[in-house]
Subunit: 237 residues, 2 copies
């Protein structure tokens, strides 16, 4: 590794990680936005592009991991710099997973195409993904500015995503019951909605990591990252 | 470098992390086994215990994270010791997520209870969870023995889990189509099966981390952690 042993160069190494995370964030946002667009428009070409693009995130995560470990071993950073580097590893892992979830939506486009999607459903999915994308964007901004207040707020807003997801879940069950020919497509849409809800959870994870990077302590574990659909149908069937 | 004060005590700190990971592994295995048992037996009391038990994994992950960072900052470990500690953070994160997935199965027990589950389905779910648990157990053994060969084999065997999951997916769709009254319960069972499939993915992640800890390099990214159900219904509906 050709870095020279100056303090400036250590900062450069940290800045490199920050830049790579920001790039990963941009790719992850695009994958999520495009996969949902492909889904609601039945655009299989776009779905193929999304699926291919995900490999970029896998590569980036590995590279960030390797770099982070090299930087720790070589520089032996203390306290806040160490948190910065450990945080990069965690955020890269969340963004890689966001890409996986987007790719999985892309892969379901063909199966869902066979169904005429009711407008209400499409709007619900779009709304869900807009919220998840806003979360992702804001949490990446919080990462850039190291703002732990924003991170805190984002975590709480995740509940809105869960509520919309639960209502979509009920709606999809209704469509299946109304017409069994919808079952296969609706099942894929259920998993797409679940994927978007999970993307919101990963944004929350990133918010927690940003808080940890900024403050050195962890947010209390009060907010469970858990959808509430398990209670749907628990009492009546 | 302040590593000189008692090498033994640094070893103790590493051993502490190893022990805590092993404990987490034991709890995660129990949560998965019990949640599936609660599901197939409709045992809501057991489901409640599983849900409560998951909090232990959340606490353990936070503690391991905090400890790991303190150890790195204080000891400034090089190469293999650093990999060991970074690996602990990653494995704790996977095990925490395994617990979440088990807890989510537990939460669906009540909703699924309303349905008389066909024997074939129950056997399929049990078989899937046995495979996932075997993966988990073997990967934790590989972690204890730092065997990268075992880790490598486990990663490849994950494909069997995916195949069984896909066949369960098809079967559940069939039950829904045969009788729309099964739709709600079958949907919850679909998510349970998906959760078990994801548990297999986390075992694979751990295998990759063990390989990294043992060798210092990463397994090539050839094996996608991806279920193949997206193609179900893609051509016929």
């Amino acid at each position: 590794m050709p870095q020279s042993h100056t303090v400036a160069s250590f900062d450069e190494e940290l800045q490199y990680l920050v830049r790579r995370i920001a790039e990963m964030g941009g790719v992850a946002e695009r994958i999520v936005a495009d996969s949902v667009a492909a889904l609601v428009n039945g655009d299989t070409d776009m779905a193929q592009r999304v699926i291919a693009e995900d490999a970029e995130l896998d590569r980036a995560e590995r590279e960030i991991d390797e770099r982070a470990v090299v930087v720790i071993a070589k520089r032996q950073p203390m306290a806040s710099d160490l948190r910065e580097i450990i945080g990069s590893i965690r955020i890269a892992s969340d963004l890689e997973r966001v890409g996986d979830l987007g790719k999985n939506i892309g892969k379901r486009v063909i199966a869902v195409q066979a169904m005429t999607q009711p407008k209400k459903l499409v709007r619900g999915l779009e709304h869900l993904s807009e919220l998840a994308l806003t979360q992702l964007k804001e949490v990446l901004d919080a990462y850039s500015s190291r703002s732990h207040e924003v991170a805190d707020a984002i975590r709480e807003r995740d509940e809105e995503i869960d509520a919309i997801y639960t209502s979509l879940f009920r709606e999809l069950l209704t469509y299946m019951m109304e017409d069994p020919r919808n079952i296969t497509a609706c099942t894929h849409l259920l998993f797409c909605a679940k994927n978007i809800e999970r993307i919101g959870d990963h944004a929350t994870n990133i918010a927690e990591t940003v808080y940890y990077m900024a403050t050195g302590s962890q947010l209390p574990a009060e907010r469970p990252k858990e959808d509430e659909t398990h209670s749907v149908g628990a009492t009546s069937l």
